[in-house]
Amino acid sequence: MNVELSRRGFLTAAGVGVGGTALGAFGFGDLEVAHAAAIRPFKLVNTMETRNTCPYCSVACGVILYSKGDLRKGENADIIHIEGDADHPTNRGTLCPKGSALKDFVKSETRLRYPMLRKPGSSTFERISWDQALDRVARLMKTDRDANFISANKDGIPVNRWTTVGFLAASATTNETAYLTYKVVRSTGIVCFDNQARV
């Protein structure tokens, strides 16, 4: 059973019932308007629900994202609420003090919005475009790889490794991102490759 839907259905039905029959029938029309105006509308009405999982610890509780706007229709979607997924077998709707405040993470003021560059010795970041950032990184990689790639060891055996650039992968990216990262990093010969697993 979808608990969310049934609860919302109940509230909607109850609202219509009270407004349309009881109060109206007793002739409290004005009161009804004033009363209705004083009640905050239920904030999850007309929101898009999306199933997700909490990105913090590895219990991986099910969560539901509520957003204004539907990404799958190509709209912008603004997440206005996040709560536990009652259908999830592990957490059954509950969340801890971290999971309960997940919306604050999504909406954090210190979320990054634009690519930035800090030049050597500078005391500030300056905004750059994605093209500038990515072209710069690709060039830095190529220059270093071409200069420092080790094709063979002293015995002439192919070793094909690149030790002067390292890549530290994350602990909360998806398996699909992890695999793509693996492909790209390994294809270059980078060996200084690690993730949070051993830390």
Partner: protein, 811 residues
């Protein structure tokens, strides 16, 4: 985890040691509560602090951090001396009866073959006696003095309750109560589960901490059964996945290995990976290694990986050291040997030990690329934040490029939880500003780098130019496309080897799972252990059937668990040698005379006879290893070693400091303190209101826990004149921090080897970015040394000093 969060409800006894699930994994801990409420299960907590897990336990025993092996070997000794052993399980399913090489000995804290100069062992004697038939010799009566069981008995004999008290500071009566409660789970119908986390891993002998409990669980017959197992709670949402997919210097996806230099060609590489069974009729599943390796190479390089070029064996880098782990890499960076570095969602400045050294290392980079949803300390390591990050900005010549990424709520894809469930999730929000998906960023970096190599040529471009990249939109591979590649597909049409006229799978179709992978290049598979996650049935990770047939806690229709949707690893061990469940009320699998049936996907060939084929199919023995041969660097049996910084000497082997084979870099050795200089035993941990260094960016969590503090006992506070809520300075040989003091009854002084040991607790959630008040993390203080096998830094046991001070000047 061998089991899952929802399986914990099936247990009779939970032991939380090396973790604190009630605070660090609150919604998983509810299954402990469920077991207590519905089964009458008991909870034991062994921890230096009286944690919130301890507050709801049935029994709490204090322990000094870094002494878990002594405690657990003491429990094993207790079980052996009191005949608390699941004998049938032990004899049939472990290597207890195997005979060990005559040359193998143990004395004064060291095994045969130690070389103090190399800080390493020659492990050649750590082996079984091999008979004329080529198999390991066994004595099923367990009488032979060289059998594993008798060697183990001699090895643990020194760990008496008195010795445990002397080393661990656990009062003898409390230790004995824990040992007695644990030992009751040696009957076939009583089960204990072990829940542990970074309290066990972050030690210079972390791997052996875990191994010791695994041995105890085997002796009790608790592996492979419902409500049992070794359950690593794991720290981050996809730490399991990143490990499984092999994003480590020495791994290929699915726990295959990157070649080392001496493996000069594919034949040499495979020669040491034959995995010939060590006992008759055993599975030794790694015999399929070549199929998984070749299928991976095909996924990476397609037609460019073929039989003529050893499946592009030389496209892979070859290692000249065991691993380029982060400690080694930061040592190299400190030496100026690293020019560029990428941090993808990783706040290295606060995550790696000895922050001073980390800052110095990052400052030597020519360039640093940070990809993150948040504005991290690492991306601003060059920015002066007063005493919180006191750097000379102008002198730091590192170019820093900060790339904004999406977060979980703005992306599709799967994460693997600690129970090995690959759970798909969907994007529900638009990313802020110009933040982009990691897949787009990695795709763009690759495409641009490849374009440069196409245009200009350069050093060995082949592995880059020939990388498989057949995505519909080459600028941004979709999560579904990547998941299908991970699952694997037929490169050529596959025919039945027994009947070549019969087609098994058409070219281009998804393989059903890894059982159909081949070593001739006709299949491709990105990560064999995940195969089955996205086959012709669709995206199995997105399944949401939460029915639980038989009320076992398995939820087989919910998402996908690796391997093969198996919910409990080694589950064949839940039944006896006739194939009958040890505990009929907790049936998992049963032998029906022809095949295995039950609630879970059998972890054995479905028709493997119960009295012939052993349950530990990944091992060449078919059994689990109480004696691990030469497979771990620091010994085939665990040994108590002190942390590198310890408040007392090693009372069993006074000459040995730390783990005798842990790697120590020269400059770091000089930065290890003695208890004369730094008398207090410190440890680090999480709080329930925060997640690492992320949630300090959140308003709610910053309100709940706004400020850095340290915990100390009332006794130490009185000794030092420290009032609750006052400011203290805590410093080690490597750094100094200021914090509010939380004087607590939750930590009490311990008496170890006749000496009073005070413990100081240091939570890890503060830095200089975000909404919480500025502060420090424990990494300003901790030593730069890791576990002897896998190099996890020793964060949980180090030495500090403490004194009252005044409030820091706010910047």
């Amino acid at each position: 985890m061998t089991n899952s969060w929802t399986d914990i409800r099936n247990t009779d006894l939970v032991i939380i040691m090396g973790g604190n699930a009630a605070e660090a994994h609150p919604c998983g801990f509810k299954w402990v509560t469920e077991a207590k409420a519905t089964r009458g299960a008991k909870l034991i907590v062994v921890d230096p602090r009286f944690t919130r897990s301890a507050s709801v336990s049935d029994f709490y025993a204090p322990i000094r951090q870094g002494t878990d092996i002594a405690f657990l070997l003491g429990v094993i000794n207790y079980c052996m001396l009191n005949n608390k052993v699941q004998w049938e399980y032990l004899k049939a399913f472990t290597n207890a009866a195997y005979l060990v090489n005559e040359g193998f000995t143990y004395q004064d804290g060291l095994f045969t073959g130690y070389d103090p100069n190399k800080r390493d062992y020659d492990r050649s004697t750590w082996e079984y006696q091999i008979g004329l038939d080529g198999f390991a010799m066994v004595d099923e009566t367990l009488q032979n003095p060289r059998c594993v069981w008798n060697l183990l008995k001699a090895h643990v004999a020194a760990y008496t309750p008195e010795m445990v008290e002397r080393i661990c500071g656990t009062p003898k009566d409390k230790f004995l109560k824990v040992a007695e409660m644990i030992s009751e789970c040696s009957t076939p119908t009583k089960t204990m589960t072990s829940m542990y986390a970074l309290g066990w891993t972050q030690h210079s002998k972390g791997s052996q901490n875990i191994r010791t409990m695994a041995m105890l669980q085997l002796i009790l017959g608790n592996i492979g059964v419902r409500g049992g197992g070794m359950n690593a709670l794991r720290g981050h949402s996809n730490i399991q996945g990143l490990t499984d997919v092999g994003l480590m210097s020495n791994l290929l996806p699915g726990y295959l290995n990157i070649p080392v230099e001496k493996e000069k060609d594919f034949g040499t590489y495979m020669a040491s990976r034959a995995f010939k069974p060590l006992r008759p009729n055993q599975t030794s599943y790694w015999q399929n290694y070549k199929k998984f390796f070749v299928s991976f190479q095909k996924a990476m390089w397609g037609d460019a990986a073929n039989a003529e070029n050893e499946f592009a064996y030389h496209y892979l880098p070859k290692l000249d050291v065991p691993q380029y782990d982060v400690l080694r890499v930061f040592e190299m960076m400190h030496d100026g040997a690293i020019n560029g570095y990428f941090c993808q969602g990783f706040n290295a400045l606060l995550a790696f030990p000895n922050r001073k050294k980390v800052t110095e290392s990052l400052s030597k980079l020519k360039w640093l690329v940070v990809m993150d949803p948040l504005d991290t300390e690492t991306s601003r390591f060059w920015e002066n934040h007063g005493q919180y990050n006191d750097v000379d900005t102008a002198s730091i010549q590192t170019e820093v490029i900060q790339l904004p990424t999406t977060c979980f709520a703005e992306e599709d894809g799967s994460l693997t939880n600690s129970g090995r469930w690959l759970q798909w999730h969907w994007a529900g929000g638009t990313p802020p500003g110009e933040a982009r998906h990691d897949n787009w960023i990695m795709g763009q970096l690759y495409r641009r780098l490849r374009a440069l190599y196409e245009k200009e040529g350069g050093a060995y471009p082949d592995p880059i130019l020939k990388l498989t990249w057949n995505y519909q939109n080459p600028d941004e591979p979709t999560p579904e496309e990547l998941a299908k590649e991970i699952n694997g597909y037929a490169v050529e049409t596959l025919h039945d080897p027994a009947d070549p006229t019969k087609v098994v799978l058409e070219k281009g179709k998804q393989v059903v799972n890894f059982s159909v992978l081949r070593d001739d290049g006709s299949t491709a598979c990105g990560c064999w252990i995940y195969s089955g996650c996205f086959n012709e049935a669709g995206n199995n990770m997105a399944r949401r059937d939460n029915a639980d047939p038989g009320d076992t806690g398995a939820y087989p229709g919910w998402t996908f668990a690796w391997p093969l949707n198996r919910r409990i690893l080694y589950n064949r061990a839940s039944a006896d040698l006739q194939g009958k469940p040890w505990d009929p009320s907790r049936k998992l699998l049963e032998w029906d005379g022809e095949k295995w049936t039950g609630y879970d996907v059998p972890d054995i060939a479905p028709t493997a006879k119960p009295d012939v084929v052993g349950p530990f199919i990944m091992n060449q023995e078919g059994t689990a290893r109480l004696f691990v041969r030469g497979l771990m660097r620091d010994g085939p049996f665990p040994v108590h070693y002190e942390p590198f910084e310890a408040p007392i000497e090693n009372v069993m082997a006074p000459k040995i400091r730390g783990n005798p084979v842990a790697r120590v870099f020269k400059d770091d050795l000089a930065q290890f303190a003695t208890s004369e200089e730094f008398p207090y035993a410190a440890t680090s941990y999480r709080l329930t209101e925060h997640f690492h260094y992320w949630t300090k960016h959140n308003w709610v969590n910053s309100v709940l826990q706004p400020e850095f503090f340290v915990e100390l006992s009332e006794q130490l506070a009185a000794e030092k004149g420290i009032a609750d809520g006052s400011w203290v300075r805590v410093w080690s040989k490597r750094g100094s921090v200021k914090a509010k003091a939380m004087v607590t009854k939750r930590i009490k002084p311990l008496v170890c080897n006749g000496k009073t040991v005070h413990v100081i607790g240091i939570p890890l959630h503060w830095g200089f970015m975000g909404r919480a008040l500025k502060g420090w993390g424990p990494n300003s203080l901790t030593p730069f040394v890791g576990d002897a096998n896998i190099e996890t830094p020793e964060y949980k046991a180090f030495l500090v000093n403490i004194e009252p001070t005044t409030a820091p000047v706010t910047s």
